[in-house]
């Protein structure tokens, strides 16, 4: 059932992709998606192009997908390293529901780029800067976009 549902979801997203999001399969494996996300307009990430990797477990949709940034990003909720692990509410095991869709996950990532959640940060320093020095944070984020996401 997992493959069937994933295929359907993939088809839906491919047919009418949300603005700024492009998906493709990694080696035709429906359990591994490559996501390309444009930095949302109005955020410090605007103009950047971010590559993400979405892994759907065999138990999907009963288990949440795993999402990570392949492009390095300066963001409180994404680890600032090569792994690019991220923390997002909808994917947490206690809030994941089988009825949640991948589209909703991707839109949530876009929201997270627009508005970081410093209280649930993975990078405490970036979260502090976001809270206490917003202009400084935006400057650093833009610098990081120029360096890594162009």
């Amino acid at each position: 059932m997992a493959a069937k549902r994933i295929t359907r979801e993939y088809a839906e997203i491919s047919e009418s992709p949300p603005s700024g999001i492009n998906v493709s399969l990694d080696n035709d494996n429906v359990h591994k998606w490559n996501v390309v996300m444009a930095g949302p307009e109005g955020s410090p990430y605007a103009g950047g192009t971010f590559h993400l990797s979405l892994t759907l477990p065999p138990e999907y949709p009963f288990k949440a997908p795993v999402l990570s940034f392949k492009t390095r990003i300066y963001h409180p909720n994404v680890t600032n390293d090569e792994k690019g692990s991220m923390c997002i509410g909808i994917l947490k095991s206690e809030s994941w529901k089988p009825s949640s869709k991948i589209l909703a996950v991707l839109l949530a990532v876009q929201d997270l780029l627009r508005e970081p959640v410093p209280d649930d940060a993975l990078e405490a320093q970036i979260a502090d800067k976001f809270k206490n020095d917003r202009p400084g944070f935006e400057r650093d984020a833009k610098d990081a976009v120029k360096r890594w996401a162009k």
């Binding site: 549902r5 949709p61 997002i88 206690e94 529901k97 649930d120």
Partner: protein, 426 residues
């Protein structure tokens, strides 16, 4: 522990200077003197070192310096021929001193004198004719103006007796101080078998001490123990009651579906398949299912069905492989189930096909029977609204540990709920 009685008697004591006999005889009161002061008539001024036995000794009046002022003061109260240390056999006998309490200075002199000898107790009396109990030991009468130092200096106990008792004792001490011919009824005593005129006839004092724990003490201890036990029992009872309330509260919240059972580690696997089977099962049928114009499709309840996969649903619908009914078929209202045919199964994202089997959860969300069965193997919650699908009366064994775990989890959830509230899209 306390003094029961101070008893003074007359002892006939062989003079070891002439006889080897050690036989000490207590004289009969009718031919001598005997006095008993019960604990109600005496006051303990200071307790000395307790040896665990009765205190006893020859009764005597300690010597004062003959030139001292106190010696002069006491002359009117202490007869000249009273029993002194010199009137007692030269031996290591223990002693009980008696003296009037004239003033602080003289008492100190008497105590100092008594300390020089193996004195075991000291009886004081206030000069006068009073036969009543002496003033309380805390009374300023007994103040020696040395901040109570005297009580610590003495190794012996100090008692106060009534004025008349002391005076009488003093008079007897003067009577029984000489040799046998001089003491009262001396000729009678000398004629006793074994008696000799050279023997000593002296006053001897016993201070009987009660070392057994008093009944009152036992009563107090029992009461204290009782109070302690009742406090412990009450506390335990209250604790048990509170825990019981917490458990029943958790049970009620579980029944209302407010508790995230999975977060508490209670998995679906602990729930009988029987329960899954009891969830309402419907078969979608009727020509109008795909017909949008008929918004209310006809849905019929079915008996429990052995279920293979949704590909086989057509066979199921024909009733070819229906199992005999082993449990009560679910009951639904007379009216048909109101599902819009546009709806999709939230698990597999496919539409509800005609003739397909669907199950409906208590929260009224409907899924393909195969999908929800799969889902319920890993989660007890509705895949859409996360409300527990467990029956109202179902709850795991609720332990105090579970209550604590749930409370801890709730706190954690409350703090993270603020953060993720905006992302919850139920």
């Amino acid at each position: 522990m306390g003094v029961e009685q101070i008893e003074t008697v007359v002892l006939l004591f062989p003079n070891i200077a002439w006889t080897k006999s050690q036989k000490v005889a207590q004289l009969q009161p009718d031919i001598s003197f005997a006095q008993a002061v019960n604990k109600g008539a005496l006051e303990i001024l200071s307790a000395g070192f307790s040896s665990g036995h009765d205190i006893r000794g020859f009764t005597y009046v300690p010597d004062l310096d003959t030139k001292s002022y106190c010696h002069k003061l006491s002359e009117s109260l202490v007869p000249n021929n009273v029993t002194r240390l010199a009137d007692l056999p030269r031996s290591d006998f223990t002693l009980v001193a008696v003296a009037p309490w004239i003033n602080a200075e003289c008492t100190q002199e008497y105590l100092a004198s008594a300390r020089a000898y193996p004195t075991r107790a000291f009886l004081f009396y206030l000069p006068g004719n009073s036969s009543s109990k002496p003033p309380h030991s805390k009374s300023p009468v007994w103040n020696l103006e040395d901040q109570g130092l005297w009580k610590k200096t003495n190794r012996f106990s100090v008692y106060a007796v009534a004025s008349t008792t002391g005076t009488q004792l003093m008079r007897q001490l003067s009577l029984y101080s000489g040799n046998m011919t001089q003491v009262p009824d001396g000729h009678v005593l000398a004629a006793l078998p074994g008696g000799d005129s050279r023997d000593y006839v002296r006053l001897y004092t016993y201070i009987h001490i009660n070392y057994t724990v008093g009944f009152q003490m036992v009563l107090y201890l029992t009461i204290i123990a009782g109070i302690l036990i009742s406090i412990i029992c009450t506390a335990t009872l209250v604790l048990k009651l509170v825990q019981r309330l917490q458990r029943s509260d958790l049970q009620q919240r579980m029944a209302r579906g407010e508790v995230d059972l999975e977060a508490l580690g209670i998995k679906r696997s602990s729930i009988a398949q029987l329960f899954i089977d009891s969830l309402p099962l419907y078969i979608c049928q009727g020509a109008g299912w795909h017909d949008i114009s008929k918004t209310v499709p006809r849905v019929q309840p079915l008996a429990p069905v052995s279920y293979l996969s949704d590909e086989d649903s057509d066979d199921q619908a024909t009733g070819a492989s229906w199992k005999p009914s082993t449990i009560t078929p679910p009951t639904i209202p007379e009216s048909t189930l109101n599902i819009s045919p546009e709806l999709h199964c939230a698990i597999c994202a496919n539409a509800f096909e005609r003739e397909g089997l669907v199950r409906r959860l208590p929260c009224c969300h409907t899924f393909h029977a195969a999908c929800i069965e799969l889902s319920l193997q890993s989660s007890t919650m509705c895949p859409v609204c996360r409300i527990s699908v467990l029956p109202y009366d179902y709850h795991p064994k609720i332990t105090n540990c579970l209550v604590r775990r749930e409370r801890k989890f709730r706190k954690l959830q409350a703090s993270s709920a603020r953060t993720w509230q905006e992302q919850a899209d139920c």
